[in-house]
């Protein structure tokens, strides 16, 4: 047989080797993800639907920026203790407290408390390592940026990018249950901080309105958790606890009025003026009730 007759076999063999190497990597990844899974079955709802709803949970950054702009003062005492990482020894607690610490980290960043932020960054990194997602954090880079307040924008950008990368990674690897816990922890901590600030600054209506606006977000979170409540006992417990939060939100009303938007192009950017309006009807008693329920849930999660 001449050499040219062997060529197809050689190529085919090479391709099979490539495919088999890929399979091996895939198996490794699956084995690793199975470890993360801790026996949680996937819900009977499409991955696409879950990912769609996950997108609709706001980033803690956005809620936190409002706090700084409202004139409220930084208060470290309302944050979670960064030295309690070793207490979080289950995947559930690690994922939810990763979210909580993530929000606390953003809160310290926003107020320029970079050294305190480093304590949270270390805790975040430790929990992320325990969840085998520590590769998204470059502690050295963050530490360098944190030494100078002029780097605040870069610090926030990197933090946001890291958290987005974690979410994407978890969702891409079909572990949306962890992504949900991470997002719920972060969201709840943002509402918790917002409540404390609103109670201290009742005259700042933008803070209480932002708390009230979370009613729709909570509905989506509850829907997401309901998908997993049947198969994951930890999520089931949290879902039950959060029904009390839903009760606290029941008396808050949000009204909408629609009007056609107007648009114009300014310097190559399409500027859209929203002429619709929404109004949140919320009292300080509502804020206190929400705060009380969140405290109870949070204490359980951070114990």
């Amino acid at each position: 047989m001449q050499m040219k007759n062997y060529l197809p076999f050689l190529l085919l063999t090479a391709m099979l080797l490539v495919v088999s190497c890929g399979s091996s990597k895939k198996e490794d990844a699956e084995a690793f993800l199975d470890e993360l899974d801790e026996g949680v079955d996937a819900p009977a709802i499409s991955e696409e639907t879950i990912n769609d709803i996950l997108q609709q949970i706001p980033a803690p950054l956005e809620i936190s920026v409002l706090m700084r702009e409202s004139g409220a003062e930084y208060d470290r005492t309302i944050l979670s203790d960064p030295d309690k990482v070793s207490n979080y020894n289950t995947t559930f607690k690690r994922a939810i407290n990763l979210g909580i610490y993530g929000t606390d980290l953003i809160y310290t960043n926003i107020f320029g408390k970079n050294q305190e932020g480093l304590s949270y960054m270390k805790s975040v990194k430790e929990l992320a390592d325990d969840l085998n997602i520590g590769q998204f954090f470059n502690l050295k880079l963050v530490g360098r940026l944190a030494t100078n307040n002029d780097n605040l924008d870069s610090l926030m950008l990197i933090t946001t990018q890291n958290f987005n990368a974690i979410n994407k990674y978890l969702q891409d690897n079909k572990r949306a249950n962890l992504s949900i816990l991470f997002l719920v922890g972060g969201w709840m901590e943002a509402v918790h901080i917002n409540c404390k600030m609103s109670i201290d600054n009742p005259e700042v209506t933008s803070l209480s309105e932002r708390i009230g606006e979370q009613k729709d977000v909570l509905e989506r979170i509850m829907l997401l958790m309901s998908f997993y409540a049947e198969t994951d006992p930890n999520i089931k417990d949290l879902h039950e606890d959060m029904k009390k939060l839903q009760d606290a939100y029941n008396s808050i009303q949000i009204t909408y009025t629609y009007a056609e938007p107007t648009t114009e192009v300014v310097d190559g950017v399409l500027v859209i003026k929203d002429n619709s309006t929404s109004t949140v009807h919320i009292t300080q008693d509502n804020v206190k009730e929400i705060d009380s329920v969140i405290n109870t849930i949070r204490n359980k999660l951070t114990s």
């Binding site: 391709m15 706001p58 702009e69 309105e209 932002r210 606006e213 950017v269 399409l270 619709s276």
Partner: protein, 142 residues
């Protein structure tokens, strides 16, 4: 022998198709898009746009916009300057608010001042696109 040659051809075709798919790398576009957010805007989310060589008509994302907040959405495509991409914004009732094609002209960013809190839908479509590939960044400021 003929069977083996046939297997080889099918496998080679599949390999080439996979390689073709890998050509769209939205992550690279995001690296361009995120720094291009206008000054004063905080980066919030990045969105990958992969039209899978034209097999997808649109790519859609959603996000809860908050009253009193300005949002900027920009476009970056592998063809440069958001070329071939169109972004359309819809409110929570799926009513179209605006699109990045204005009087036949494409703009590469939209700025939305939200006065009504709710879920908004950000839809990316393709217009005379050769690569169906890009990225987009969402930023906000109060």
């Amino acid at each position: 022998m003929k069977i083996l040659k046939y297997i080889f051809l099918v496998a080679a075709f599949a390999f080439v198709r996979e390689e073709g798919k890998a050509q769209c790398n939205p992550t690279e576009q995001l690296k361009v898009c995120i720094p291009k957010l206008a000054g004063g805007f905080n980066f919030l989310k990045s969105y990958e746009i992969n039209g899978r060589d034209g097999r997808l008509e649109k790519v859609e994302y959603s996000y809860p916009f908050a009253k009193g907040t300005q949002y900027m959405i920009n476009l970056c495509s592998s063809e440069g300057e958001g070329k071939g991409l169109v972004v359309t914004l819809y409110d929570s009732n799926r009513k179209q608010l605006a699109t990045s094609v204005v009087n036949g002209q494409h703009v590469s960013a939209i700025l939305f001042t939200c006065q009504s809190t709710g879920i908004y839908y950000i839809t990316y479509t393709f217009d005379n696109s050769a690569q169906y590939c890009g990225g987009s960044a969402l930023g906000f400021k109060r």
